[in-house]
Symmetry: C2
Subunit: 226 residues, 2 copies
């Protein structure tokens, strides 16, 4: 089939890199495009993937070059989904293999090829180029879904945290407030956390117990069957 006539689509990668802090809430890394199409517009960091390079390697290369972020600094990198509608790039059919990255305390390093990389709070996003608003929405939905059966937030939280801080991170991802008592009961029953001997004291409040994650890798928890 297709021999001699087969024309593949262009292959690209795009990255959705999230981080969370108590001050900024959940934020996502965007770059400001320095050439056409969509010159000047904000976009997810993305670029071409050529024959001979894996999409994961292309993701690291592009994220470093345009976004100023070293993927080794991310606590979790996962392939998200492949977006492939024919008209998504005005230059011609471009299929994008997308990745989600989660990290903490990320500061984009400036460089000759970086394109104004900036973490934008999800609450105050600018318009995005291409179908990047769809890609971001899908990444957020997937992250939300993983809240319910994995320890995925380990990659966003500091090494030690209070249950209140953890709940804030869950709420930022879920996009709504959670019942404190119910949250604590379920998160402690999940087996994802380890209680430490350390306490966190803030102002007039009673000192709060500090926790850490049992593992800094993705774990799932079985619910319906086990």
């Amino acid at each position: 089939m297709y021999s001699g006539e087969y024309v593949p689509p262009t292959l690209t990668i795009d990255s959705v890199v999230f981080q969370w802090s108590a001050e900024q809430g959940l934020s996502v890394l965007l770059i400001q495009r320095s050439y056409e199409p969509f010159m000047g517009a904000w976009a997810l960091p993305g670029g071409y993937c050529a024959a001979g390079e894996t999409t994961r390697d292309a993701m690291s290369r592009v994220l470093s070059a345009k976004g100023g972020i070293d993927t080794d600094r991310l606590g979790l990198v996962e392939q998200l989904y492949t977006f492939d509608t024919v008209a998504r790039d005005p230059r011609g059919h471009a299929v994008s293999v997308t990745y989600t990255g989660l990290g903490r305390d990320l500061k984009p390093a400036p460089g000759d090829t970086t394109q104004n990389p900036t973490f934008w709070p999800l609450q105050k996003l600018p318009d995005l180029a291409y179908d990047h608003a769809d890609i971001l929405a899908y990444a957020l939905q997937r992250l939300r879904s993983k809240l319910s059966y994995t320890n995925v937030v380990y990659a966003l939280m500091p090494p030690l945290f209070t249950l209140s801080q953890l709940q804030s991170c869950y709420e930022a991802i879920a996009g709504r407030s959670l019942d404190k008592r119910n949250f604590r009961k379920k998160i402690l029953a999940s087996g994802f956390l380890k209680e430490t001997e350390k306490m966190h004291a803030t102002g007039a409040h009673r000192p709060a117990r500090l926790y850490e994650f049992q593992q800094q890798t993705l774990q799932t928890s079985d619910h319906i069957y086990s």
Copy 2:
């Protein structure tokens, strides 16, 4: 970047189509390759995706042409993962966007281009071409994981079924036996099922209640937070 020199990898699709029956357990659709490479070997149905065609459309086209299966007959089709190691195809770098399909009572229709499509029980698989054993293992792992937080088996089960039949399907996917009492408690608590007025009588056994799924689309159930 790359203008004038950029060479994209070949883009392909591969499908992992599962069905389940009490007699065969879980089985997967394989075709027998009729040309090189891997001529004569068993493989997942797959083929090229050209510029201008979405991977989902290519999946339907190839599954019909080589596998004799109409995707409209499937209860669920989902993009699985994109496999892209550089050496996975001896002809050159080929990136494969893979899909999972779930159905019931599927009988591959013979045709001029079909390649001996056959449902193979997972217990008795032949050697597979390319990295298709890895793709199948990943599809099974994903399906297994979805057992715990979705109603995914709706696409494999007949419209009416007993809880024993449902448990058999869960066990076929999980690859191990499940505790009957615990399974019933959790599956009834999930909210995925609807009890019917109908009973199923088999030989000397006490007639068993028949159930159906509330919805014939994918639903998730929240566990850790809600």
